[in-house]
Amino acid sequence: MSDLALKDLYQGFRDPETIKALLKQIADKAPGLKEPLKIMEVCGGHTHSIMKYGIHQALPDNIEFIHGPGCPVCVMPKERIDQAIALAQQPDVILTTLGDMIRVPGSKSSLAQARAQGADVRPLYDPMDAVKLAQENPDKTVIYFAIGFETTTPMTAVLVQMADQLGLTNLLLHVNHVLVPPAVHAVMADGQAKVNAFIGPSHVSVITGAKVYQPIVDAYQTPVVVSGFEPVDVLEAVLMLVEQKLADKAELEIQYTRAVTIDGNTGAQAMVDKYLAVRPEFRWRGLGNIPNSALGLSPDYPHLNAEIKFKDILPSEELDDHKACMCGDILKGLAKPTDCKVFGRGCTPQTPMGSCMVSSEGACHAHFKYGEVIL
């Protein structure tokens, strides 16, 4: 880290002149589009960038972003959160997880509320910290509630490897990793979404390679451009999509060439394949059951699996969001956050009714936080 100039990672990609030049190119070409370009940004990171940098404000009227299902916090069903809370409430358990997962409401409360009631819940910045915690607390059981898309799965795989190799008997995992391509298929196969182009998530693609999106291009004849998260990245990806549409093409392209290849990180993929396994089915919040859409712990490591060790106390009742909440339709690209009657009223980041309002990756949260400035 000490040799890395962090500003090199973003500075040039926020250059106002480059942004203005890209916007002009898009504006010049957009009138040639035969139909409005409705781009689904699959990833919550893109939603966040688009809102934060006001990219949506600057585009021509016939280009629109539609938020997709790509927020790992937003798509976690209540029953899985209830399970995390049940684990956290066990005696001598330290429940660890990533980021704002601790604020997501389950059926009755959130991990943050469980923490306030005495449960030992700790958000981690690095899953490997769970190993250190387990070593420092030999009389406790440390459980890592693993979440995230393909981006974070290799870290979980490494954690399994370390726990196994170190012979740790007090570190367990509850694995809830979800996969991007099955979710995109679910959105498109539904037939209602008016999406005719995709911006693919770059962080996921660094691991998986861009190749995972080719079946989407082939099945629905929609272009996919794998894009970075900076304003210049997103605008260049939009320009690439416009050019494909003008040329009547539907192809897979990589804008984020500085980190993404077609094949991805094959070493990380091998780790994931060894330590994690595809679940036959997983229930997504707002989207329902999607086959082969999530990962669990490999059956080779039952001694590390919290779902097995604590199976008797884990709640399993399937629970949907509040009826007034439109998160399901928002995740499917059928509605905007502002279409929801409870948006910004009954549902705010402090009192989220639905998952899209909880996570900073969520579409509702991004709309609430950055909003529309009325000029």
Binding site: L6, M51, Y125, G148, H203, E361, Y370, V373, L375
Partner: protein
């Protein structure tokens, strides 16, 4: 634990009101905070002070207690001195209450007390009374410090005085303390020299007031950072505040850390940065005076009639968004 180690740690008896507590007060606190009012050792300090007065109190806890650019002791003094300075008051007399967890080392306590004494010298304020409590192991996180302060007001800044057209300035780059604490907690070896901005601000304030700058509003941007101060001003004054995003000074190390964790630098805490509103025609002079203290000081925005109660951030490419009041605890984005 050896007998020697026991002697070198705070025990419950150090808060018991007996010999041990007496020794602690005289050998440590009186040694470093020595002044004629304190060492009179009465039940209350007798002060010679003219009104109008400003009076403030704050309790300080930070983890880790030692960080690049300061420590808990430095913050405990600078924080209260700065609260007085922001009220346009000369920082004069402070009280100091320690709540110490049994087991804290004497060496650490002495380091913190020494640091407090050094920070007091920067404004000339004095600790004139104090209190020590020792609580059983597990009842506190090492040590908590409370300081209260009183000082004579020589100006009367208030957010109520902000007017349309006023310029908004910051005294230096924002987000350093929050970023530094985050980096310390996570043990990150970052590029450059990411140190907290923790500092006493009285010199900067005095320079502005001595030069006759009409400081309309002034507030140190502690928890909640720049975003919290600006939103509070906009909401309470029923005006809007427009901020030019590229004018807000942010150190590369702070921005870089925020990129890694998904934080907003303008929401991160500061411990030595203040925000002020001045009439537009005094903005450049105020800026020049602030730059004598910190080169990164900047004019960042304007008070406007539109966007009542909101802070609007304009990007260098013309898009606009609200800068919201920070919410909840700081948690990193997941990916």
């Amino acid at each position: 634990m050896t007998a020697t180690d026991n002697k070198r740690r705070i025990q419950l008896s150090h808060g018991g009101g007996g010999v041990e507590m007496n020794q602690l007060i005289r050998k440590l606190f009186f040694k470093y905070f020595s002044n004629e009012i304190l060492i009179r050792d009465e039940d209350a300090a007798r002060l010679d002070i003219q009104g109008p007065l400003a009076f403030t109190t704050d309790s300080f806890t930070v983890s880790p207690r030692q960080f690049k650019g300061g420590d808990l002791g430095k913050i405990a003094v600078a924080g209260t001195v700065n609260d007085l300075a922001m009220a346009g008051a000369i920082p004069q007399y402070l009280s100091c209450g320690f709540i110490i967890e049994e087991g804290l080392t004497f060496a650490e306590l002495e380091t913190l007390v020494k640091s407090m004494a050094e920070e007091l010298e920067k404004s000339g304020a004095r600790i004139v009374c104090g209190d020590t409590k020792v609580v059983p192991k597990g009842a506190a996180d090492g040590i908590f410090i409370n300081t209260s302060g009183v000082g004579q007001c020589i100006a009367n800044p208030s957010w109520k005085k902000l007017e349309v057209g006023d310029a908004i300035l910051v005294s230096r780059d924002v987000g350093r303390h929050g970023a530094c604490i985050l980096a310390s907690r996570e043990g990150m070896a970052l590029e450059g020299d990411l140190a907290s901005d923790c500092a006493t601000l009285w010199d900067d304030v005095k320079r502005l007031l001595d030069a006759g700058i009409e400081v309309r509003a002034m507030r140190d941007a502690t928890r909640g950072g720049l975003a919290a101060v600006l939103n509070e001003w906009a909401a309470s004054r029923e005006l809007g505040i427009k901020v030019e995003q590229d004018q807000v000074p942010i150190a590369d190390e702070v921005q870089g850390l925020c990129e890694l964790f998904g934080f907003e630098p303008m929401e991160l805490a500061n411990e030595g940065t203040f925000v002020l509103g001045v009439p537009a025609d005094q903005a450049e002079q105020a800026l020049a005076l602030l730059k004598q203290g910190q080169e990164s000081a900047a004019i960042i925005g304007t008070v406007v009639e539109q966007h009542v109660g909101k802070v609007v951030l304009t990007s260098p490419w013309g898009s606009q968004r609200y800068l919201e009041l920070p919410k909840g605890e700081l948690l990193p984005r997941i990916c």
